[in-house]
Amino acid sequence: MAAPETAPLDPMAPLVARVTRRHHDAPEVFTLELEPEDPGALAPFAPGQFNMLTVFGVGEVPISFSGDPVDQNRLVHTIRAVGPVSGALTELEPGAAVGLRGPFGVGWPMAEAEGKDVVVVAGGLGLAPLRPALYRLFAERERYGKIVLLYGTRSPDDILFRRELEAWRGRLDAEVEVTVDHAMAAWHGNVGVVTTLIPRCSFDPAQTVALVCGPEVMMRFAIAALMDAGVAADDIYLSMERNMKCAVGFCGHCQFGPVFVCRDGPVFPYARLRGLLALKEL
């Protein structure tokens, strides 16, 4: 095999993108819209994939796409300020430069879900990686069976993407439930753990694809509830989170048993991770 004439793309070198918009969603949570300086250099992203975002001089973190996949020129990322890099990202003002590598990873099984009922279970910030899938589900509504969205978060103040949730909830062709762990009396919505909503929803478990994203404990309980409802392990997909440094399988950090979360995931059918999720400190 002849060596390529031109230098191959360095998977570790970021492109430069600019912040075009910054929106405060919830305490510590911000959504950034980015525009690459050279839009042609990026492959289109699929729901569930992620980018590696760099604040120059600070560092790099993996952040899922949270925007509409129809609009490929607007790269939308919803970020919680939890560390030095994510903190610095959320402080960037429009015009600021960001390093960007991606898109990486295996996303949600949008094609496999066609013709089936789709149950989306999101917890906390886990709604962000699911939002591109939800945009797609509603944009191509006729391709799917029933759509159920169950979203749980800590408190009413922490609810993300209220505008979209309200719009989807207003639809007659979807079942959308939002629940919070606790609320002041002024909140008239549901209070309780999101997994308890699963048995109350109507879908055909034999013809269902479930998309789950949230804290790992919440996902474990959601999977249990989905399987109790009769959904097969093959049809339950979850998005995993692990430390990622390279996003291309070189650095080793994101290993979860046999898989590299960055390359083989972050979205996995539960059947592939069954047995691993219950192990401590794997």
Binding site: G124, A185, T196
Partner: protein
Amino acid sequence: MEGLERIVKEHVFFADLTDDFCKLVCGCAKNVRFEAGDYLFREGDPADQLYVIREGRVAMELSAPGHGSMTFQTVGEGEIVGISWLIPPYRWTYDAKALERIRAISIDATCIRRKCEDDHDLGYELMKRFVPVIIERLHATRLQMLDVYGTKS
């Protein structure tokens, strides 16, 4: 009475209850309504009724000085409000407030406890329906305690 029996039999909580047991339960039951904002009961009151919700949602609240009222769970159609009637001292440990207009079956706790005592088969049958509710709430409480959505500091 026939109408109530039908309502009880059709309610998901009492699904597959035998006719005999259904009659025994209905002997202690009645249809009730609450308007939004009404309290089904308040913390500290004797737990002399339990409610099987047919329609609407109920918020379970706890108040603390300086914190106001905090809702820790909401329940709706097909679910139960109140398990404190099962065990002494039969006292409510939270407030239950109607978030919407509520239609429910109210069951007299003293009446149903006596019937369960007299007929352990009925008691066991009802326990099998109430224990999962208790377990589910215990699980939910654990998850809430973990505060899984929060950021650790």
